[in-house]
Amino acid sequence: MSWSGFIVITLLKAAAVLAGMLSLAAAAIYWERRICAFIQGRVGPNRAGPFGLLQPMADAVKTLLKEDYAPGRVRKFYFSLAPAVAMFPGLAILAVIPFGSNLNGCPMVVADLNIGLLYALAVNSVGVYGIVLAGYASNSKYPFMGGIRSSAQIISYEVTMGLSVVPLLLLAGSLNLGRIVECQSGGLFHWMIFRQPLAFALFVIASFAETNRLPFDLPEAEQELVGGYNVEYGSMRFAMFFLGEYANMIAAAAMIVTLFLGGWTLPWFGLDQQAATFWTGALHIAIFLAKVKLVVLGFIWTRWMWPRFRYDQLMSLGWRKLLPLALANMVLTAFVLWARA
């Protein structure tokens, strides 16, 4: 393929992924509000458009038209930078996620990196800077507390997250996410969730912590920190935090699907092989999206069911329970593989 063709196609794919991601994030916000309302015995937004489906659009218009206001005594540069940084990892992780097999022979991943998993973990850890910067730059006590909690929490759970995927690498023999998806083909029980259930549980828990979702939403903690790191933000900057939270959630869901739930594959009807026709390729993308949506649904459902951890419980869980489990799982998997070889 010529260079110009490569660049055009990559840009097209990036634009498609970005558009898909942002619309998914908008949909996730809608579903969050609706599901939350239903669980609480309410109806939720149902006025804008049929069933309130246009609510995200109304919110977007509102935040865009609002005055972009920064309180006095904030550190202006970091204050403006923080929302962008918070939004960045959610969008950047998607670059390495294979969201389909191929369309007319064109592989459905923006960047087929050989170190895709490492890249995803690395980019993910940048996300904490958004929150910490917001807490620092706001020059106000609640955001500051949120930022401090966030740095402690995300750094703690990042260790578990990184260690929990090591057994996967041992099994797949590659850091390339495409390869990891391929090695899950050939039957439902080849999915990593069944081969590495403990790693799956650890990764999911760590994902909740990384995306600041309940029960790990200590940085926000509406009841004690009145919203935490984003207290001083309004209009579009707040919307970017909000969107970033959902983008991170979707990116985490995409990672869970890719690593543990077979990515774009389904173990039936030969859907776990590379697509031969255009329509099978499209079907693979649809399967991937459906799986991501189901995982996002799980995220939302959990949020309205669980109380928040206390700070000491959070630390105890992260360092004294999850980390040893992840290490043990890694050593055990390595030992079994070595004994088999």
Partner: protein, 201 residues
């Protein structure tokens, strides 16, 4: 008092049992009937006897029941009621036996405390607390209702006694009926024409 906590077994200590029962609870809630009332379309109907807006009523023959005794005006704690009596030269009431009818009758809903004393004190059963309780207006003046508006909102009170009509009939039967100096038909134009009663009482 010391509450003895039940010792949890390993499954309960694992925290996962609580997770699953929590998920089950939220799923059940998800499919439960919703309690939200879609406000402008659906409205809460207050129970019988609710003290909402005070209104004037007409009887089933279309006469204004108020005889302008001004007891409600005197008893009203926040002085929300203002009655203008007809005076010696004012227009006569639309019932021959009754002595007077109010020339103007104003209730300021912004002052009203919905205590219901006016309804209680009224000897003619001419003022009632209706169940209306939602008032919106852009200016204060819009919430000062005059006689016409109060009568329109009050509607018809189906009065079994019809006191003034019976008095007239009794006086006629005893031959003690004195024809008033004016005829209700002549003075019909002096007081505003009655309207169709809005909403039954």
């Amino acid at each position: 008092m010391i509450v003895q906590r039940k010792r949890m077994n390993w499954w309960e200590r694992l925290y996962l049992s609580a997770v699953f029962s929590g998920l089950w609870v939220t799923v059940r809630r998800f499919f439960r009937r919703k309690v939200t009332m879609q406000y402008p379309e659906e409205r809460w109907v207050p129970p019988e006897g609710y003290r909402g807006m005070p209104c004037l009523v007409r009887d089933q023959e279309g006469h204004v029941k108020c005889v302008c005794c001004q007891l409600c005006e005197f008893i009203c704690p926040p002085k929300a009621i203002r009655i203008t009596p007809p005076g010696p030269d004012g227009p006569p009431p639309d019932r021959p036996a009754a002595e007077k009818a109010p020339l103007e009758f104003k209730i300021d809903l912004l002052r009203c405390i919905f205590c219901g004393l006016c309804e209680e004190v009224c000897p003619e059963e001419a003022i009632f607390m209706r169940r209306d309780h939602q008032f919106t207006a852009e200016r204060r003046e819009e919430l000062v209702f005059d006689k016409e508006e109060l009568l329109r909102r009050g509607g018809t009170h189906h009065d079994r006694a019809l006191k003034w009509k019976r008095k007239e009939e009794e006086a006629k039967a005893q031959g003690a009926w004195v024809e008033p100096a004016w005829s209700p038909a002549e003075t019909a134009g002096a007081i505003p024409e009655r309207q169709e009663a809005g909403g039954g009482k």
